[in-house]
C-alpha cells in the first residue's frame, strides 16, 4: 500500500509539474508583449513645408507596420491640406529609448483614406535625399490584430510621442469604453478609449495584451480649432518668432481610435499597388462616407458592390479586398 502510494506520487507529481509548466509557458506565450519592439517601431511623423527650409507644419506619431518601411499614421497630419499645407514628410526615430527622436528618413504617402483619417507612408530616402533600398531594410515593425475581436473593458496600451521631439516614446494605459458606429462600418467605426493620451500621440498605436496593433488613436488638429497651436520657429523669415509665424496645431486629449481592420485594407492596397481612396484635397474631413456607390449603366455591378461591402465588414475582408478592388477598377 505504501509502495503503491509512493509509486503514484512518483508518477503523478512529474505529470502535474509538466502540466503546470506547460500552462505557464502557454500563458507567457499569450502575453508576449514585446515593449522594446513596439517602442522601436513607433516613429514621429513630421510634415514640413519643403526640404529646403524644413519648417514644420504638422506632426504626429506613426507606427512601422512592415520591415521595409511602411508606416501607419493619420492622414490629417500627413496628407497636404489647408491645416497642414506641408509638401514633404520626415520620419524621426529615437536612437535609444532615453533620447528624443532624431530626424532620419524622408517618406511619401503611398495610400490614404481621408474619410477614415488613415494613411500609409513609405520611407523613400535618407534625410539627405540619398535613396534607400527598401528591400534591404530590417526595421522593427508590429503586427495588426483583428480589431473586431476587441471587447469593452479590455485593457490597452497606447504608444506614441507625447510632445514635439523633447522626449522619447511614451506609453499610456487605458481601457476600451465602447464603440461608435458609422453607416459604412456598422458598429465598429470608432473605438472609444478611456486614457490620458496627449494629442501628439495621434497616429500612434493601441495594443492588446499580445502586443498586436488593434487601433490608431486619432484626434483632429486644426490651427483654428485646436486647443494648442504653438509657434515653434520663424516661418516668415523676419527674424522674429511671434504670432505672424505659422503655428503647429496639436490636438487635444485623445479618446477615440480607428480600428486596425481599416488599416488592413490600406496595407493590402499598398501591397497590390492600388489606391483604396484618395479623395480630392478638402479641408473638411468627412468622417462618414458619401453613401453607397451609384452606377448609371452597369446595373449588374451593384449587387457585386453590395456583396463586397458586406464581405469587407466580415472575417473575409482580406481575400474580399483583392476581388473588390478589381471590381471597383472597372
Amino acid at each position: 500500500m505504501a509502495v503503491t502510494s509512493r509509486l503514484l506520487t512518483l508518477v503523478i507529481l512529474p505529470i502535474l509539474t509538466a502540466l503546470l509548466l506547460g500552462s505557464v509557458q502557454v500563458a507567457f506565450a499569450q502575453t508576449n508583449f514585446d515593449i522594446d519592439r513596439i517602442q522601436r517601431a513607433t516613429v514621429l511623423v513630421l510634415q514640413i513645408r519643403s526640404f529646403d527650409d524644413g519648417v514644420i507644419t504638422c506632426a504626429g506619431s506613426g507606427t512601422l507596420v512592415s520591415r521595409d518601411g511602411l508606416i501607419l499614421t493619420n492622414a490629417h497630419h500627413a496628407v497636404t491640406n489647408s491645416d497642414c499645407p506641408g509638401q514633404a514628410l520626415i520620419i524621426a526615430m529615437s536612437a535609444s529609448m532615453d533620447q528624443p527622436p532624431i530626424a532620419r528618413y524622408r517618406a511619401e504617402v503611398t495610400n490614404a483614406n481621408l474619410g477614415l483619417d488613415l494613411a500609409l507612408l513609405r520611407i523613400t530616402g535618407q534625410l539627405d535625399g540619398s535613396p534607400v533600398d527598401n528591400t534591404s531594410f530590417a526595421l522593427p515593425f508590429v503586427e495588426l490584430a483583428d480589431s473586431s475581436s476587441v471587447a469593452t473593458d479590455e485593457t490597452i496600451r497606447i504608444f506614441g510621442y507625447p510632445n514635439m521631439m523633447q522626449s522619447s516614446v511614451e506609453e499610456r494605459l487605458g481601457t476600451i469604453s465602447g464603440f461608435v458606429s458609422e453607416p459604412s462600418a456598422q458598429d465598429r467605426a470608432w473605438i472609444k478609449i478611456e486614457s490620458d493620451v496627449p494629442g501628439m500621440m495621434t497616429g500612434g498605436g493601441i495594443y492588446n495584451a499580445n502586443g498586436q496593433l488593434i487601433g490608431v488613436p486619432t484626434t483632429i488638429a486644426s490651427a483654428t480649432t485646436s486647443s494648442s497651436c504653438p509657434v515653434l520657429e520663424d516661418t516668415n523669415g523676419d527674424g522674429l518668432v511671434n504670432q505672424n509665424d505659422r503655428c503647429v496645431p496639436v490636438g487635444g486629449f485623445i479618446n477615440a481610435a480607428r480600428p486596425a481592420n481599416f488599416a488592413r485594407l490600406l496595407l493590402r492596397g499598398a501591397s497590390l499597388g492600388l489606391s483604396l481612396s484618395q479623395a480630392p484635397i478638402d479641408p473638411q474631413f468627412a468622417t462618414t462616407p458619401g453613401g453607397e456607390p451609384a452606377f448609371s449603366r452597369l446595373f449588374f455591378l451593384q449587387p457585386c458592390v453590395m456583396g463586397c461591402q458586406f464581405a469587407l465588414s466580415t472575417q473575409w475582408a482580406t481575400p474580399a479586398a483583392s476581388i473588390c478592388f478589381s471590381i471597383t477598377r472597372i
Partner: protein, 201 residues
C-alpha cells in the same frame, strides 16, 4: 699605497659645497624643464579674445586661427594649418519661440544641413553640461567632404561635428565644432577650452 691613495680620493666624501652644487644643478634642471613645459603649453593653448556686444558674446579662441564673420553666423574660426579638413569653431544664433525647444531647433538644423552636406547623419541628441548656468543640449553628427584642391587625389574625409545649443533671451545660441574624425578626440580639448571661456550676456 698609491693605489690606496687613488681609491681613497675617489671614495672621499663630498664636501658641503659640492653637495649643495649637486642639489642646485638638479633644481635648476627641474625648474628649467617645468618652465619649458609651461611655455610649450602656453604656446599650444594661446588664445585671443573676441567680444560681440550686440550678440552679447565674449569668448577666447586659439591664436593663428583664421577668423571670419561674413556668413550666416556670428563668427567662425578655422585652423588653416591642418591638412585636409580645417578644424572649425563657430557661433551662430537663431530666433526661437517660447514654446519651442532645443531639440526642435537642432533637428531643424539637421534638416537644413542634410541638403547642404554630403552623407549627413545625426548620431545623437543628448543633454550637455550647463553653459553659463543655462541648460544645454548637444547634437553629434557626421558628414563627408573632399579635399578642396582638385589636383590632390584623396579619399573623402569624414568629419565629426558637435553642436552645443543653449537658449538665452528668446534666441538659440549654437556653438559648433567640426573636425576630421581622426583628430576629433584630440581636438575636443580645444572645444572644451572654447566653451569654458564663453560668456553669454
Amino acid at each position: 699605497m698609491a693605489l690606496f691613495g687613488a681609491n681613497a680620493a675617489q671614495n672621499r666624501p663630498l664636501t658641503r659645497l659640492q653637495r649643495w652644487a649637486h642639489y642646485l644643478t638638479m633644481l635648476t634642471f627641474g625648474l628649467g624643464l617645468l618652465y619649458g613645459i609651461n611655455m610649450l603649453q602656453s604656446l599650444q593653448t594661446a588664445t585671443i579674445g573676441y567680444v560681440d556686444v550686440r550678440a552679447g558674446i565674449s569668448v577666447r579662441y586659439p591664436v593663428n586661427w583664421l577668423f571670419d564673420d561674413d556668413g550666416s553666423y556670428i563668427f567662425r574660426v578655422r585652423d588653416m594649418t591642418r591638412i585636409g579638413y580645417k578644424t572649425t569653431l563657430q557661433i551662430s544664433v537663431r530666433p526661437i519661440g517660447t514654446q519651442s525647444s532645443a531639440e526642435i531647433v537642432l533637428n531643424n538644423l539637421a534638416l537644413q544641413r542634410s541638403t547642404q552636406l554630403n552623407q549627413y547623419r545625426t548620431l545623437s541628441i543628448t543633454p550637455a553640461s550647463p553653459l553659463n548656468d543655462q541648460p544645454a543640449v548637444a547634437m553629434t553628427y557626421l558628414f563627408t567632404t573632399t579635399e578642396v584642391d582638385a589636383a590632390l587625389e584623396s579619399l573623402p574625409i569624414v568629419v565629426l561635428g558637435r553642436d552645443v545649443l543653449v537658449i538665452l533671451r528668446g534666441q538659440a545660441v549654437i556653438i559648433t565644432f567640426t573636425s576630421d574624425v581622426a583628430t576629433f578626440d584630440q581636438d575636443l580639448a580645444i572645444f572644451d577650452r572654447f566653451l569654458d571661456s564663453l560668456e553669454l550676456q
